[in-house]
Subunit: 596 residues, 2 copies
Amino acid sequence: MPDYHAPLRDMRFVMNEVLNVEQAFTDLGYEDCGSDTIDAVLDEAAKFCENVLSPLNQSGDREGCQWREDGVTTPTGFRDAYQQFIDNGWASISGPTEYGGMGLPNTLALAVSEMASTANWSWSMYPGLSKGCSNTIFAHGTQQQKDTYLPKLVSGEWTGTMCLTEPHCGSDLGMLRTKAEPRRDGTFAITGTKIFISAGEHDMTDNIVHIVLARLPDAPKGTKGISLFIVPKFLPNDQGEAGERNTVSCGSIEHKMGIKASATCVMNFDGATGFLIGPENRGLNCMFTFMNMARLGTAMQGLTSTELSYQGALKYAKERLQMRSLSGPKNASGPADPIIVHPDVRRMLLTQKAFGEGGRMLFYWLGLMEDQMLKAGNEADRKALDDLMGFMTPIAKAFMTETSIETTNLGMQIYGGHGYVAEWGMEQVVRDARIGTIYEGTTGIQAIDLLGRKVLASRGDLLRRFTKIVEAFCKDNADNPAVAPYIASLSKLLHKWGEVTMELGMKSMQNPEEAGAASVDYLMYSGYVVFGFMWARMALVADNAIKNGSDEGFYKAKLHTARFYFERILPRTEAHLRSMRSGAGNLMDLDTELFA
Amino acid sequence: MPDYHAPLRDMRFVMNEVLNVEQAFTDLGYEDCGSDTIDAVLDEAAKFCENVLSPLNQSGDREGCQWREDGVTTPTGFRDAYQQFIDNGWASISGPTEYGGMGLPNTLALAVSEMASTANWSWSMYPGLSKGCSNTIFAHGTQQQKDTYLPKLVSGEWTGTMCLTEPHCGSDLGMLRTKAEPRRDGTFAITGTKIFISAGEHDMTDNIVHIVLARLPDAPKGTKGISLFIVPKFLPNDQGEAGERNTVSCGSIEHKMGIKASATCVMNFDGATGFLIGPENRGLNCMFTFMNMARLGTAMQGLTSTELSYQGALKYAKERLQMRSLSGPKNASGPADPIIVHPDVRRMLLTQKAFGEGGRMLFYWLGLMEDQMLKAGNEADRKALDDLMGFMTPIAKAFMTETSIETTNLGMQIYGGHGYVAEWGMEQVVRDARIGTIYEGTTGIQAIDLLGRKVLASRGDLLRRFTKIVEAFCKDNADNPAVAPYIASLSKLLHKWGEVTMELGMKSMQNPEEAGAASVDYLMYSGYVVFGFMWARMALVADNAIKNGSDEGFYKAKLHTARFYFERILPRTEAHLRSMRSGAGNLMDLDTELFA
């Protein structure tokens, strides 16, 4: 398994040099979050992730989780690592201070998440999902619910889950059947089966708090009849501790391709006591808060798997000796040259680097946007940021996970036959990363969300929110030779993006299948352009640093990777453009029974 | 696991309707290989693969192979299936009649291989590798060696292996160290360690015959000092049966991402008795026969994994109910529509179908070419076919396996979360398929072989051999409206292919890194165009069948898939073209130490 080394230099480049988070935090009213705090958080979290989580990544995969009737055992070391995690306060850094959290910006918590997720994706699922639960209670719970659950969830003493999927419905939540029957005491009896519940059962904490989607009796059909319930594994007693056992249990865990140390549970609710959270029948709306966060978290897993695979591949490419460079020996005293001399190995490494670092830039930009949205001074500002994030989130989620399938496979490819052997750990990264395009809404779902719900439903308005930002950047820097070719390229792509959006809007008024037929190509096109913008921004900062006298090689590498991205990766936009313009007929005109 | 159903209709379409193999076999002098024989072989092999091999595919993956000091145990049922395979004569259908084979055309044996490989990739490795060994002995062995080994290998009573890779050298065989010391009796003592030896040890047969690359004392360095040796596990005794145990043993087996039921062995040769085969120091040249065959076999695995994944995905897409069609309910009485109504699900299915059926067409075309080459009447004809196959083989191997990573991942994607769960079998197809771009020469190695050794070294001659065939097709059918748009598209792509080849030839004279930098994009471009040609040919035949009055939906599906391929897949050529034209600088200008 690649040993994880936190890429602090690159994280700081994005946070400090491109986004200037320290100033942004100050502007948002965060006190006590200056560079000392930021540095200390990053340094200490890096140590924890490198020294505690990373060594458990491969062993966790081998051992997996074990189901028994009385519960689920996580792999050796997972529980201890979790205990250290909460003892050191990592669970609560961005938690609200009134419930025991440190109240630091979300962006900083994301940096910790990035490192934990790269070091050990499976392990990071336990605290990761928990945050979805606590955010939902924070946003929609009653004061009593907050007082009951948040102190335990914020500290990490308890974990939480989100229970959405059922055997017959994943993408189509309107079909869900789990029922909630009101009792006289104001609680509800929750009955049904949920599947694919990450961290639904485990041995790390005394209690687990489930947020469950269910239907009240006589609720409207479809998505407008879904309500949200808190269903704790143990009902909190008067002292606020885990009390009586609730009738919710884990029926089995899935045997999966990857993230084997993350327990993916079938949860059976057998008249379990639940507490309504948020308004009746408005459960899906309440879920959106969580959904966007979860999707951003999945986008992050795209970059973290890319990062881990890159670290492993780069090390091997420098060490493995095989054949001579086409332009003459580079290691004349050795039996062969390190494979990093070969252009195609470099193409693979640079592809990983371009997607990994580009993804990091996008991820922190969106993370900071979330902080700004949460602290927005007025509703107009909040709405503007929410709209922009609504547009960017499906792109980040789907594009970063789709490209992570490519990058992790490239990392494994660099190892040749050894990449296929479990011992080296590179194939685990591929297997772990593979869930990214599926959970929290598949790529197809993200694509319809982007093109249908966001772009076309807003008549292109949400797209223009983003393109205006890029246009302003292009205008401001058009005369800078360091980024001029990138700006020229971005300008053309923006133009085509607008054009094709108009075309699709018109076509889909005639035939609604047109939007669906174009959607994934549209999303991928969008992702490539967004990453182009990320790379142009980073190139600009790197170029300025060099102009200001820095001779740090880091900046040269940044400029080179930007060039690589624009010259070798961005041309893919053309293929997506042509494909999405080809119309729905080549997908829809074949009768179903003729497929085979 | 998807139940395998042999796609006999499609196999017969390619063999009978496009390639007219029956006539071709007659022209090549094969007697007793008329349509009755062909039909019987296909039907019976289909039954064996569907009923015996397919049910062992998932259990084989779960159980894997077990290593003990005294040997390797294959999963339950594998040995019995192998016994049935040889009892029914499947091992020997294309084997030479003088050694007990049936002497049927290679193309027919490939059809059996296709079905076995789709039904159970891991199992099919055992007889598959064996064929490389027997072909090598047939081509380069002495009469005595042939008489000793071929009857047992042709019948399948013994299996064989090819032992190339060593721990420190895979792609770079010039570095290999295994030594062969001559003994007084004319045999050699072989000492060294080989890794990644498929079927190196197992419990299916009484004996295993290894073909081993090793160096004689004082052999020239590099690839010109490698000789080939036959090293049987048990030395054949005077009766031709397995006699004294040789000092070759399996040190361990690899734990791999996939093909877990195929034993991948570390083989230790400890002064083992070996017999020189072919001329001293010419071992690599002798290997080329085998290499091309093995690469074609791997290309086949690209199409077979695509086929299996498609079969599973199509079944699920028709059954799984989730959401309503954008253009109104298609299953109004049900709770939702089957997901095959959604355009993006169709895009994924058609991508699988286009690569699977296109790959089948290419595979049988190359298979028939091999038969024609083996039976060529004169050296000029033989050389012409050999050259064409030399050009096509790296394209088929790399392109069909690279695209199978995409297709098998799409098949799994169609299952949503269930695709990630082992029980459904779709993730196994992804894991199994993943070895394809690695073994028998990685994609990078194929790409350099294509662009460097084949195209540029022949000054474009080998490329023109292929493009002339396409041009002739285009000319002949330019007026046919059914294929006219495809011909227009192919003509443009051929033109650009020639142009970029010239450019790369000139650039690489200035800087040899240019060829390496462009190679994989060049190969992928080539693959897309080759598949375009395959689809145009198939469309033509399908159109003719319809014009001749057939109303079989199969032909409509063929025409539709051709359209899909040209409109949605072929535009990718543009991205590869731009990338390969972008020059080596964006890969080579970054210092190695600045990568991280």
